[in-house]
């Protein structure tokens, strides 16, 4: 072989870069389709449709089974489009049966409902299509590769590269030249005014939902020739889609396109240049974009948005003497549990106590602070890792680990919180998600320190806490102290200022309250308490895995708070107990725990649009309202 000249190497490199760039563009197509669908739906209905990933996955599954049935070249393409249409119908069904009932609930409630649907879909596809990866057919007519600058590029990839901008153009035309499109754009800005001009919002919402889900499902179907279909593709895409939508600007289709290209190119080149931190790279760029342009590349500050937390019809008040006595009685009862319970029950009870503290910390952030978080597990997990490091690396005792470990969570919350409190509403929440994913990616990829996927093992409690009863008492005591401390904070001058900033930022600032500072402090505090829960969790399980930072855990916490009632002071506590008991019980009773849990979440959301705690408060008001 003749040695390549320098110039030859450079040309080679350039060719390679072009090829890599095209691969990135091809990947951007599906991501853009899904993200634009999410963005359009959010713009008009203000719903963050968590089920969008599930519809993407369903699109791929349905397309798979249709390509099995339809034959010929035409059959393949017809299968993709039919699959998207079928899934769009499913989406419309969900919108009509579920979402229409809860449009007036706080925004995050709809997220929770669609999360419930996602859980159900995940189990359903396994039931219907089996757990194995399914390999779809190649696209007829586009099976080969095209030679571009000496690099073989799959013809199907080139097709996708062209399709993305075509879809963008089609959406643009529909939005600017049809009456429907003009109504959609108007509703994105002020949907109540559109209704005040005689437009039936319901059907506008439904049609927008149909289009959004169609795009998501088409995105999934188009992936068929590129990757295997499996039942976890929904979570993977939804995180990327959130990132794309936030970078591009919620409600902006062109922004979604630019961001999808940006994210996919970052992935395509990041993996070459910095393979260890490729996961971190995308999220770091997202954080950067949000700090520079808080509403994304092409997004706009929306003035008409409702607060993420609903209006407070019942003002918060401290416990009365009688309620205090009742709570003391319940605490005493909980403390007596080891007298009559075995090791398994005690470990379940300790886990519930830990999650009560975790949920209470998130509730403090969301309910009192008005700062919704999709990534609260970051601080829980950092606390767990902190405790593990303190024990394993620093050689501290269990007490030292539980005392000092949470400082890692606090540090994370101080760092991430600084960014998050500068944004508001859904943007802030999505940024919390991105930070949680960064923390997760570091734990997952920095194998030398964190053990990566294998986690850190052998983190067992010592001394009096080594027995199940001892550990339960420890967890219970810390949970009670934590919840009491958070409650005290809510009724302290700090809490008043925090709630003032939540209810009316402008007025609070006019009163001399430094909103960012006080919310930053609340974020750090919430992170610290979550980290204490995480440290306890590490000792409960005897190990720490990246899962403790993961999205499912963050969503669990969100579900607990919303189910308990974010507008009710005890919502976090009530929700954690109810949700944890339910999920542990379901896990032991059924093989399809996700299906049942998802269905239960959906039913609870419809039955209690203000959470369990909120429903209780309302009942109490109705019964005792005349006297009070």
């Amino acid at each position: 072989m003749t040695p390549l000249s320098n110039q030859g190497l450079e040309t080679r490199l350039l060719d390679f870069i072009v090829a890599q760039f095209l691969t990135g563009l091809a990947s951007a197509c599906s991501l853009f389709l899904v993200a634009s669908g999410l963005s359009i739906i959010f713009g008009v209905t203000r719903i963050v449709n968590f089920a969008h990933g599930a519809f993407y996955m369903l699109g791929a599954y349905v397309a798979y089974s249709l390509t099995e049935r339809f034959s010929g070249a035409l059959g393949f393409w017809a299968a993709l489009v039919c699959a998207a249409a079928v899934v769009a119908l499913l989406g419309v069904t969900m919108e009509i049966l579920l979402l229409r009932r809860i449009y007036r609930a706080p925004e995050l409630f709809q997220l929770l409902a669609t999360f419930g649907v996602t859980l159900m879909v995940e189990d359903l596809v396994v039931l219907m299509f089996g757990p194995e990866d399914l390999l779809g057919p190649r696209a007829p007519g586009l099976k080969g590769a095209v030679d571009i600058l000496g690099q073989a590029i799959p013809a199907y990839d080139l097709f996708l590269v062209v399709l993305g901008p075509l879809v963008l153009g089609a959406i643009w035309l529909a939005f600017h030249t049809t009456r429907w499109g003009i109504l959609v754009r108007a509703a994105t800005q002020d949907r109540d005014m559109v209704a005040a001009l005689g437009v039936n919002q319901k059907w506008l919402f439904t049609s927008v939902f149909a289009l959004g889900v169609f795009l998501a499902a088409l995105g999934g179907a188009l992936q068929l020739p590129r990757e295997a279909v499996n039942h976890s593709m929904d979570m993977k895409i939804i995180v990327e889609v959130f990132v794309v939508v936030v970078i591009g600007g919620l409600g902006s289709v062109t922004g979604a396109f630019l961001a999808a290209v940006l994210v996919c190119e970052l992935n395509a080149f990041g993996i070459l240049i910095l393979p260890q931190v490729s996961l971190v790279l995308v999220f770091a760029v997202m954080a950067l974009v949000l700090v520079l342009r808080p509403y994304g590349l092409l997004g706009r500050a929306d003035g008409a948005a409702r607060p993420a937390i609903g209006t407070f019809i019942t003002p918060w008040r401290a416990f009365t003497t009688r309620e205090r006595a009742a709570v003391a009685g319940l605490v005493l009862l909980a403390a007596l549990l080891p007298l009559g319970a075995g090791a398994y029950v005690l470990s379940v009870a300790a886990e519930i106590a830990i999650f009560v503290l975790f949920a209470a910390s998130l509730h403090f952030l969301m309910g009192a602070g008005g700062l919704p978080s999709f990534g609260h597990a970051a601080y829980f997990g950092l606390g767990a890792y902190g405790a593990a490091f303190a024990l394993k690396l620093a050689g501290l005792s269990m007490a030292g680990a539980i005392l000092l470990g949470p400082l890692l969570g606090l540090a994370g919350a101080v760092l991430f919180g600084w960014f998050c409190v500068r944004l508001s509403g859904v943007y802030s929440a999505m940024l919390t998600l991105a930070f949680a994913q960064i923390a997760w990616a570091i734990a997952f990829q920095w194998v030398e320190v964190t053990g990566g996927d294998n986690g850190l093992l052998g983190i067992w409690p010592a001394g009096f806490a080594a027995t199940p009863a001892g550990f339960y008492w420890l967890a219970l005591a810390l949970a009670i102290m934590g919840v009491a401390a958070l409650r005290t904070l809510i009724f302290s001058p700090f809490g008043f200022a925090l709630r003032a900033a939540r209810d009316n930022a402008a007025r609070a600032e006019a009163l001399g309250i430094d909103r960012h500072r006080i919310q930053w402090a609340a974020f750090a505090l919430a992170g610290l308490f979550a980290a204490v829960a995480g440290a306890l969790f590490a000792f409960l399980k005897g190990s720490v895995f990246p899962d403790t930072l993961g999205i499912p855990l963050s969503v669990d916490a969100l579900a607990m708070v919303l189910l308990g009632g974010v507008e009710t002071i005890s919502g976090g506590v009530v929700g954690a107990i109810a949700y944890k008991l339910l999920s542990i019980w379901l896990m032991s009773e059924t093989e399809h725990s996700k299906l049942v849990l998802g269905a239960v979440i959906v039913m609870l959301v419809v039955a209690f649009p203000h959470g369990i705690g909120g429903a209780f408060t309302r009942l109490r008001d109705r019964l005792g309202g005349a006297a009070a």
């Binding site: 994105t188 005014m193 005040a196 001009l197 005689g198």
Partner: protein
């Protein structure tokens, strides 16, 4: 045309309106006066089923419309131009008008773009301008034009003169008077007594969520002390 009786409205537990009653006859223009916070805008919002929870009876052309949703009220013939104008700032003038467009009503000449531009010549010169790039007066004209695109029988106008220069207020007053001449019924919320008197036949005055005066402008003016107690700031 419109008959409202015993209208109560609530935000949460707070009652904002107490047994408000009012009547607008066919082709009549009625001014709803009162100080800031008297409940004028809330009355209009309550009629439109936007915002507050409400109880009471609302009749349009004799039919009970209390249970209708906002868009159904518009379809039934009420046009609503809200206080803060709420122009779609991203949409052009033409697109804003398109959002308001509704089918013609039998027996009434439909509003067309040409007729509206004749009424508001300024708008004709900025068809492709975005709502966000218009002056306050132009936005107010667009709001009126957009509402008229729905071919309403009754107009609810919430402070169309608010924050505008006297010259623009005059233009808008002329346009509203022209609408009245066309036979439209009008319920006008105003702080500007002069503006209201130009247009309206009759007046109702609200204070603290209640109706406290109903009658002619002459009757209201007859007792300057009372008028100032009710209206002046």
């Amino acid at each position: 045309m419109l008959e409202v009786s015993r209208l109560d409205a609530f935000y949460g537990r707070a009652q904002i309106l107490h047994e408000v009653g009012l009547r607008v006859g066919s082709g009549e223009a009625v001014a709803l006066l009162g100080r800031n916070g008297a409940g004028k805008s809330t009355t209009l919002r309550a009629i439109m089923a936007q915002g507050p929870r409400r109880t009471g009876e609302i009749r349009l052309l004799g039919a009970d419309v209390s249970r209708l949703e906002t868009h159904e009220l518009v379809q039934a013939g009420i046009g609503y131009a809200p206080e803060d104008r709420r122009i779609f700032t991203d949409l052009t003038v033409m697109e804003n008008l398109e959002v308001g467009r509704r089918p013609a009503r039998p027996g009434h000449a439909p509003w067309t773009i040409e007729r509206l531009f004749a009424l508001f010549p300024n708008l004709a010169e900025m068809r492709q301008r975005r709502g966000g790039q218009m002056s306050g007066g132009e936005q107010q004209m667009l709001t009126l034009a957009r509402t008229l695109m729905g071919n309403p029988l009754l107009l609810l106008l919430d402070e169309p003169s608010e924050g505008l220069a006297p010259r623009i207020v005059e233009q808008i007053a002329l346009a509203v008077m022209a609408l009245k001449t066309e036979g439209l019924s009008i319920l006008l919320c105003e702080q500007n007594l002069h503006f209201a008197r130009l247009i309206c036949d009759r007046t109702c005055v609200m204070a603290r969520g209640r109706m406290v005066f109903e009658g002619s402008f002459a009757a209201l003016e007859a007792d300057p002390a009372r008028r100032d107690a009710l209206l002046s700031v």
